[in-house]
């Protein structure tokens, strides 16, 4: 299906000599690969060509929301941030980041909702709502091609460590950890799916299986349901911590939002 098999086998052969997603060969070759490299050629083509990429609809929608005034403040994002192409360039690549008001790490979506609440005096947008996903995709789109650059902020370190521990912890009725699939079996075939290395570089992504755009948290909750674990709620600290760890693990890989995934 979706011609993923061939690419998967090549990747499997490539990974067979490495021990995990972090692996650096003695020659210093980085074996980390974006999820898009584990996909079939037709899905890859869909991501590469903006005219074919369904997620570009959300980018366009985000672009129009960017300059739409929000009641009751009547302020649009553009009123404070001007052109996103310059003010938001590289911003998504630094998220999750430590929030000075909440004194804890927040995702890009949560940061946007901070502006909704404190700068637009409006209600926060619901997780996975079209509006929030569109704004988040539009902001992340401004970092396309830039390397993921998680901040060296020491205040993030304990949260990132929590995320790392959770990544290693078995969970659910199937009793599997993220690491068992994504560090130890990346490139392998789980039923019809090729297991990627779990890099968050393309999010929010358009997923063919969802027939929609979804956030990284939706993806992580999907993996938890897959092992029959109780997913952490949207916005839960546990998911933010996992995102922090994933960002550190993918540091330096280029952002590719808006991604397309099988």
């Amino acid at each position: 299906m979706r011609a993923a098999g061939h690419a998967g086998l090549i990747v499997l052969a490539f990974l067979a000599t490495s021990s995990g997603a972090f692996a650096q060969t003695p020659a210093g070759i980085d074996t980390r690969r974006s999820g898009s490299e584990f996909m079939g050629p037709s899905t890859q083509a869909m991501q590469k060509d903006d005219a074919l990429n369904p997620a570009m609809l959300w980018v366009k929608e985000g672009e129009s929301l960017w300059s739409q005034p929000v009641a009751p403040s009547g302020k649009a994002c553009v009123a404070c941030h001007a052109a996103a192409s310059s003010s938001m360039r590289g911003v998504a690549a630094r998220y999750p980041a430590f929030d000075e008001r909440l004194l804890r790490p927040v995702t890009l979506g949560q940061r946007i909702n901070q502006c909704r609440q404190h700068h637009q005096q409006s209600a926060p947008l619901r997780a996975e709502s079209q509006e929030l996903l569109s704004l988040e995709t539009y902001v992340a789109f401004q970092s396309r091609g830039l390397p993921l650059a998680p901040p060296a902020d020491e205040r993030l370190a304990p949260y990132r460590r929590q995320g790392e521990q959770r990544f290693m912890q078995r969970m659910g009725q199937l009793n599997l950890s993220c690491a068992q699939c994504h560090d130890n079996h990346a490139g392998g075939r789980l039923g019809s799916s090729v297991i990627p290395q779990a890099h968050p570089t393309g999010y929010p992504v358009y997923r063919l299986e969802w027939q929609a755009l979804g956030s990284l948290q939706r993806r992580l909750r999907g993996c938890m349901s897959g092992v029959r674990a109780e997913p952490f709620a949207y916005g839960a600290q546990e998911l933010v911590e996992l995102e922090l760890y994933l960002a550190a693990r993918a540091k330096g890989l280029p952002g590719e939002t808006p991604g397309v995934r099988p």
């Binding site: 659910g172 009725q173 009793n175 079996h185 392998g188 075939r189 029959r228 109780e230």
Partner: protein, 149 residues
């Protein structure tokens, strides 16, 4: 691993199995370890076992394993092919692998199919239930025993 370490690991995992009262593991240790006694006393039904193995919601086996079920496409490749398992392993050895493969390899990714405690954050719909019921384990074992070549 030494014989002693195997024995200690087995005793430990047995002690953890408080919810389901499992029959003791036979004295043979290591890969030869087995659970020779039926979990139910009712012989397994190989045809029902085959249907469980083929079903991606019930058995889930084909997520990781390939096997001689030619009508099933998209079989996994994370685990050994099930072809020939009936020739490689006795009924008791297969039962032990189904009940709790961790007793042979604590790091295994194969879920313990007849174990419902000692797990972390099990989803509400699955809490307190093993992946398969005792008779389903017997059915799967009966099917695996038919895979002789």
């Amino acid at each position: 691993m030494t014989q002693r370490a195997w024995a200690a690991a087995l005793v430990q995992s047995l002690a953890a199995a408080t919810l389901l009262l499992l029959p003791a593991v036979s004295p043979a240790q290591g890969p030869a370890a087995a659970l020779p006694d039926s979990l139910t006393g009712v012989p397994g039904d190989a045809a029902r076992g085959r249907a469980i193995v083929a079903n991606r919601q019930t058995g889930l086996c084909l997520l990781c394993h390939a096997g001689p079920l030619p009508e099933e496409r998209f079989q996994g490749n994370l685990a050994p092919d099930l072809t020939g398992t009936g020739a490689r392993w006795s009924e008791g050895q297969l039962r032990l692998r189904m009940v709790d493969a961790r007793r042979l390899n604590p790091q295994t990714i194969m879920p313990a199919y007849y174990q419902a405690d000692g797990l972390n954050r099990v989803g509400a719909a699955w809490q307190g239930q093993p992946l398969l019921a005792a008779q389903q384990i017997e059915d799967v074992v009966a099917f695996l025993r038919t895979l002789r070549d």
